[in-house]
């Protein structure tokens, strides 16, 4: 795994499938790790539970985070990874159905880098995913890995 890995935190299999389809349609070939709830996402990031054998130094280039998740919700996942030295600089894009003011406020408040609403129209959804991949994986310069780990 490299910095090009995308961590998709999504509990809805339809949305997962559609997101993956959109990425594929837009020729984004990066490794995509899917966590189906908040706990799994945290296990992956901190190499615990079923991910205990994973190299903790290998962190995803961007996290696509849904908010409404079983066990540990998206905002809690965000809070915990921002509180940890290792993960606090990873770009996080909140990708959700909700545009509730409170969710947006809390999301940005906890350090989200973007907040994108999933459109109902799949064409527009696909376009959004394409732009996200393009921006966060190609255009955007990620924080230096060494710094990120030492900071």
């Amino acid at each position: 795994m490299t910095d090009d890995t995308i961590l998709l935190v999504e509990d809805n299999p339809d949305d997962e499938e559609l997101t993956l389809r959109a990425l594929k349609n837009n020729s984004i070939r990066n490794t995509i790790v899917v966590a189906r709830d908040g706990a799994e996402a945290l296990d992956y990031l901190f190499c615990t539970g079923s991910f205990s054998g994973r190299d903790a130094n290998e962190l995803p280039g961007v996290i696509l985070l849904d908010l409404k998740l079983p066990k540990v919700d998206g905002l809690e996942v965000l809070r915990r990874l921002r509180a940890d030295q290792r993960t606090r600089l990873i770009p996080v894009v909140i990708l959700t159905s909700s545009i509730e003011e409170q969710d947006r406020l809390k999301g940005y408040g906890l350090g989200a880098n973007s907040y994108v609403r999933k459109p109902v129209d799949f064409s527009r959804f696909s376009e959004a995913v394409r732009q996200l991949g393009l921006y966060w994986l190609l255009l955007n310069e990620r924080p230096p890995a060494v710094l990120a780990r030492k900071a």
Binding site: N12, D14, D15, E17, L18, R21, L67, K68, T96, S97, S98, I99, E100, E101, Q102, D103, K118, P119, V120, D121, F122, S123, F125
Partner: protein, 534 residues
């Protein structure tokens, strides 16, 4: 409380009488001054009269003493005269009849005459005229006495008969007239004095009597008059004092009455206070209950608000997710298996996709509507004219090919929530924009209107308008008066506008006719005479 005013009143009365006493020393009123002057005049007059009367009585006494003195002189002269006569009688008797006792009588008479004359001389020592008269009289008297002694001697010599007396008689005829004359002059002088002195004494006595009578009477009258005035003044004063005392007593009574009334009033107030306190306690209790109920309701409302928020959250999240799946997989079907579906199948799938997108829009509008109800109000000064101008530019920008004339009144200001008012104006102007889409010369106006004494804003257009009989449904959510094919929309816009207007305490109403355009009137602050309808 009830005894205090009386004590006070008495002290006041005491002060007044002390003041009155002080005032007596310096009479203030003309009446009192007049009486004081009158008394003073009477006293002065009395003193003057006393002085004059004293003087008069002294004068009278002096003159009286002089009269007595004069009478004494006259008495002495009479004594002298009678002594000389006695001596003469004794001498003549001895000469005629003899007898030694007559000689002795004669001697006594002579010495009496001498003594009387000496007394007269002494008494009239102050009167030179009388001294002179006596000086004349005394030698003549001595000569007369000598003649009588010669008569006695003649008898002693044994002579008798008238012839022997002839020489004596001759001498006597020479002496007698001057002697009688001198004596008469002396007596006359003394009588003159007596007359003068008696007159003077009488004058003094009369004067004293006159002064005593007239002056005394006048002084008495003055005193009596002043006395009457004083008594009258005193009586007036006494009346005044009595009246004052009566007034004081009245005052005391009234004070006592008022105090009693006050006491009653205080009791009343105290009682009423008690009642009021009880009422207040009841009100306070009711208030507390009310507050509790309000608090309870608030808690309920907060909880239902939270429920509503949770509902909206789940609507926005959970309802949209399946829609996204339907649309997404429909598209996937079209893309991956389109060739096996045929044109009909593709068309059907497109309709499925259109419906899902439409439902997504409906859910979004519904969420917007609920958000408008729930969001907090931030009131500030809003420039409606500027806002309308901005929105009109946005509309033009979206469809630059349309020919629409905007007429926006300038300087329209209102106090309200900018964000909400912007949404309301966007909806109203957007509606006008939409419903005039079939006009060659569309006209949209925004301004202020006066209807039935109410100042309102309005958005008017010359678009499709609506049937006024459906006006009641105009502001209901998802209510549409036009076919979606003619004018697209979800039917949430006017419901949203109405909620915004109501949240500002305003009202919204519309007038229109089919194909004659529509005018929407709205206010953004409570109208006093319209509060019943709000």
């Amino acid at each position: 409380m009830s005894t205090e005013p009386k004590t006070l009143a008495k002290q006041t009365a005491g002060n007044i009488s002390r003041d009155a006493l002080l005032k007596w020393r310096l009479p203030r009123s003309p009446q009192q001054r007049f009486i004081a002057v009158g008394f003073l005049a009477a006293i002065i007059l009395r003193a003057f009269l006393f002085f004059v009367a004293y003087h008069s009585s002294t004068q009278f006494e002096k003159w009286n003493n002089l009269v007595i003195h004069t009478r004494a002189v006259l008495k002495s002269l009479e004594d002298f005269s009678s002594a000389v006569k006695n001596a003469q009688l004794a001498a003549v008797s001895y000469y005629t009849n003899g007898g030694e006792p007559q000689v002795q009588v004669f001697s006594h008479a002579v010495s009496d005459a001498h003594a009387a004359l000496t007394r007269a001389r002494d008494l009239s020592a102050d009167n030179s005229n009388q001294q002179h008269n006596i000086d004349v009289l005394a030698p003549l008297a001595d000569q007369g006495i000598d003649l009588l002694r010669r008569v006695i001697q003649l008898r002693k010599d044994g002579k008798s008969g008238p012839d022997a007396l002839k020489p004596v008689n001759e001498d006597s005829k020479k002496i007698s007239p001057p002697l009688v004359q001198a004596l008469a002059a002396t007596i006359s002088e003394e009588n003159r004095l007596l007359e003068i002195r008696t007159g003077e004494a009488a004058v003094a006595a009369r004067r004293a009597r006159f002064l005593e009578t007239v002056g005394g009477t006048f002084a008495m009258a003055l005193l009596v008059f002043m006395g009457i005035l004083f008594l009258r003044e005193n009586s007036i004063r006494a009346n005044a004092v009595e009246q004052m005392e009566r007034l004081n007593s009245d005052l005391e009574n009234r004070v006592a009455e008022r105090t009693a009334a006050l006491q009653t009033a205080i009791e009343q107030v105290r009682k009423e206070n008690g009642e009021r306190l009880a009422a207040e306690a009841a009100v306070s209790k009711l208030n507390t209950e009310l507050e509790e109920r309000v608090h309870h309701r608030t808690v309920e409302l907060e909880s239902s608000n939270k429920e509503l928020e949770a509902f909206c959250h789940s609507v926005s999240h959970d309802l949209r997710a399946p829609l996204r799946s339907i649309d997404g997989f429909s598209l996937a079907l079209l893309e991956d298996h389109g060739d096996r579906l045929g044109d009909d199948g593709k068309a059907h799938l497109q309709r499925v996709r259109a419906a899902t997108v439409r439902m997504g829009t409906l859910i979004d509008d519904l969420l917007d509507l609920s958000r408008i109800t729930r969001s907090e109000m931030h009131r500030e000064q809003v420039d409606l004219s500027q806002l309308a101008g901005t929105i009109s530019s946005e509309l033009r920008g979206a469809q630059p090919d349309r020919n629409v004339e905007f007429a926006i009144a300038s300087g329209l200001q209102v106090k309200g929530d900018l964000r909400l008012i912007r949404i309301a104006l966007q909806n109203l102007l957007g509606n006008s924009w939409k419903f005039t889409s079939k006009r060659d010369h569309a006209r949209i106006e925004f301004g202020r209107a006066q209807t039935n004494g109410t100042s309102s804003f309005f958005v008017a257009d010359n678009g499709a308008g609506f049937d006024p009989s459906y006006a009641a449904r105009l502001f209901g959510a998802f209510q549409r008066l036009h076919a979606a094919a003619d004018f697209p929309g979800t039917g949430v816009g006017l419901a949203t506008v109405q909620r915004i207007v109501h949240r500002h305490g305003g009202e919204i109403w519309a007038s229109s006719a089919v194909n004659e355009g529509a005018t929407f009137f709205f206010t953004l602050e409570p109208q006093i005479h319209e509060q019943e309808t709000i």
